[in-house]
Symmetry: D2
Subunit: 306 residues, 4 copies
Amino acid sequence: MKQDFLDDAVKRNRGLISQGVVATYIPELAKVDKNYLGVTIAYADGTILSSGDTKIRFAIESISKTVVLALALLDNGEEEVFKHVHKEPSGDAFNSIKKLETEPDHLPRNPFINAGAIMTASLIKGKDPVDKFNRVLEFMRLISEDKTLELGEDIYLSEKKTGDTNRGLAYYMKGQGVLTGEVEDILDVYFKQCSIYVTTESLAKIALFFANGGILSTGERIIPKKYAQIVNGLIATCGMYDQSGEYLDNIGIPGKSGVGGGIISPVSSKKLGVAVFGPALDEQGNSVAGIGIMKDISKELDLDMF
Amino acid sequence: MKQDFLDDAVKRNRGLISQGVVATYIPELAKVDKNYLGVTIAYADGTILSSGDTKIRFAIESISKTVVLALALLDNGEEEVFKHVHKEPSGDAFNSIKKLETEPDHLPRNPFINAGAIMTASLIKGKDPVDKFNRVLEFMRLISEDKTLELGEDIYLSEKKTGDTNRGLAYYMKGQGVLTGEVEDILDVYFKQCSIYVTTESLAKIALFFANGGILSTGERIIPKKYAQIVNGLIATCGMYDQSGEYLDNIGIPGKSGVGGGIISPVSSKKLGVAVFGPALDEQGNSVAGIGIMKDISKELDLDMF
Amino acid sequence: MKQDFLDDAVKRNRGLISQGVVATYIPELAKVDKNYLGVTIAYADGTILSSGDTKIRFAIESISKTVVLALALLDNGEEEVFKHVHKEPSGDAFNSIKKLETEPDHLPRNPFINAGAIMTASLIKGKDPVDKFNRVLEFMRLISEDKTLELGEDIYLSEKKTGDTNRGLAYYMKGQGVLTGEVEDILDVYFKQCSIYVTTESLAKIALFFANGGILSTGERIIPKKYAQIVNGLIATCGMYDQSGEYLDNIGIPGKSGVGGGIISPVSSKKLGVAVFGPALDEQGNSVAGIGIMKDISKELDLDMF
Amino acid sequence: MKQDFLDDAVKRNRGLISQGVVATYIPELAKVDKNYLGVTIAYADGTILSSGDTKIRFAIESISKTVVLALALLDNGEEEVFKHVHKEPSGDAFNSIKKLETEPDHLPRNPFINAGAIMTASLIKGKDPVDKFNRVLEFMRLISEDKTLELGEDIYLSEKKTGDTNRGLAYYMKGQGVLTGEVEDILDVYFKQCSIYVTTESLAKIALFFANGGILSTGERIIPKKYAQIVNGLIATCGMYDQSGEYLDNIGIPGKSGVGGGIISPVSSKKLGVAVFGPALDEQGNSVAGIGIMKDISKELDLDMF
């Protein structure tokens, strides 16, 4: 891919920004300039292609769920993790609670809906919530190959303050006997993991890491290939919640979005990772212009898995 | 009714005790002797008929929801209360959460399922949780005409400790924007109201109070007749959760049970209140022998509303 | 009650008609003049009080479910009937299907939601659908003390033609193994029972029959008292579908409505039956002016059960 | 891949047969010998590798849904088809009805759950049900490159006789106004499409057709590449109903199963199609030994998409 194409893609899709709005459920997200737009592609050979606002830091939000799942797998093994959370698309909204009641085992359907991500966060090892979060942060720095990643304290405090639906999910799971530990401690890790500031460059590296089977650009293996495949497969089926099928059909590659405006797409067949940032969101909470760029890239590079 | 009949009813239904078990979700309830069995009928003319273990104190649990609803009506008026909670049977279990998600307004279906009772508790006036609970306790003392009612501190602490499903309900409602205030403060009132120690005598007086349209045995009116009718009507349709229809059909009068083993039945057509206590519960969490006694009394006194 | 009061009630509530619309799902109902309004009260002593359009014939629709339940009880006994349908309010809309899937036993929640009424119709004895319906019609003539009741052929054909949601309910129940027999045969009885033309006078007699414990005005007992009580109790808790609680609270007596504009209220404590007819329906499908009249009568005659 | 490996895979997985049972909901399926086991791999270059019982004819059942979707796309275009059915995993069982009620648009979640497949069948063009089915059969013969495919009359009659849950789904959708046409006519096409007798060889050709972007082995394009991608994508996310996530994770390629014992996996990255036949089913209704063979092949040929 040439730089030109990427620059054009950013230009071309900038027009979509007006169709979206920034997330407003916390002031920190509402303050973000909706006109940011950037994209980075990271290849296994070390090539990095970037265009647009790729140095701007934004909250990783739900994209962190992929990273925490990988660490939970590393900490506990596949068998143990999937005793606590299923791998099936839920067919429901990201913060849905009803299946926790109606499914006989009361377990969350997958690690990427909020209930499942809270469950996954509860599986991270560490002596206390601070230690657990630090392990998450260090792991994210490692696989993004970006030592500068930091917690966005302001985002975190806002998430914590307004996270009552997540508290509802967590306490309900605890009440059903399926979540273990102190709810506020678990949520503290969860709110913090969502509040890490990233750039499209760090995210593209994370996407590449998964696409490349769990190997850093140095060639160092960090997680077994199987764990990377699990993460990629779940991104494909559950990454966009109840819009996952639409995304997979329209773009043809797995995608995991965050309400901060980021989307990552790990493409294992081509050993590359794509990340976009565009805080203007569509009604489903996905970056409108970001999806446009993803579509263009997928077509240009013939990424469609099917 | 003669004392003989009541004594016989207690004797006759004692055989059912072996079919039930005491509630075990908190140690304080699990320790209660399952063989207790008592019944009191309170008439508007001041007559009190009692038989069996009618001086034993036990936790009022869900029966408190009727009292707190009455106080919430007094504090806020009918219109305001029913902006926050509906009056419809839910068709679901007492601690069900799914309709809070699936109903477009996210409001609890009625004040007697847990979600609705927590909502009702949130409507009690007072400067802080302690003040609010004291108002509940004083109101309960007033309408039970029993100044000795006290909080069961041990029950309360256990309820608070194990009440995660209720926390889930409350935080989820708060997250949906329908519950206002600090969740732990609201739950503090709720857990305490459930932990008041009562006897069949105090409960029969409460049942009579509602049956008699909100008037004490002194003739003093405490709440408008309409509020008492609302409470009675809701007991009829929602008092036994998803078994309300069965109870109404089998016994023919409204009934509100508590997991502590109590059941009250206000009978407005005859201006009397019945209360039973029998901690051995059936699978639905209702006193097995208590229901037997209620059935016998209803038949003997021809109480069937239909 | 004096005739004057009744005449005034009709006049007073006529103003509500403009707030409602006639049912339009079949042409035969859509053609009915929305300005009709009538009421009849039938007392056990034979007194009949009527005012307004009490000679106009209209489709009984869902009110027939009470009559067919009584006949099913007579044909099969209480135990057998309630092996096939529960007695609990469903908390869902009249034509809801979801609980047929989600409840472990796949049985309808009560005999007054459509699924339950179809089940009840399937329990009527007879050698073929024609015979079964004739038994329903004869039974309805008997308890309404109105030999002139007839099937509305046009209504029936329209119901049959447009009854696909009901077919969905019936086939789904058959597929779950809980409904026995030929679906179209069962639905034929069901569509016909809904299409019987009645007047407020015939309906008031039906209401009185149930209120009076299953006895005709001649004193002849037709069904055991217990069966009448079952019907009355279910009308109280499930008669207005997911608005039953509101009706019971606002009017204070059981009520069963039909989309043809009728409502019956059996009042067992006073041994009287009330029926109204007003085809202008509110959003829930209940007669707007009819509910107004019911409210006035309940207040005037002090009928509130609670 | 060598023939040896395939022969070994069949041998090795034969041991799993004892863990499964044949489908029993219709006698024709119950009569099938559970010990059959066969596999065929079809490559775009025309190579066919087969092992085991690859000449045995069995009912295609739900695998037909992929073929009918392709024809519906060809008949109506993508935009029109997806006005009638979504592309999202449902999170529910294959014959679930509840989302048809609870989703605001009442449309089936995807074309592979029964409700969605019935909807898709209703979109096939033709002057009558016989014509429509003949078009399906001809299309299936075309893309399987097998002119001998025939309707299994006995299977079809049994499916038709016992298909009441499917009738429930169809009539309910018609009642909601989302399904157009005569239900029995639509179901006639649907029951017949499920009753076509196939072999692993014909199925492997169908899988290859989709994997190869809609091109026959002759090089002739039959459907646009986009339609093949849609089918492949939906197989990936919805092919195994509420077990789709597990299959994708364990095998790493899309899979669509049928209760007749078949499974197809189109693998577009390698331009090959795999089909297995093993009528001994696991609890989820998928071929136990067939899944074993798929797993072995995926590993040996490094097919994992992620």
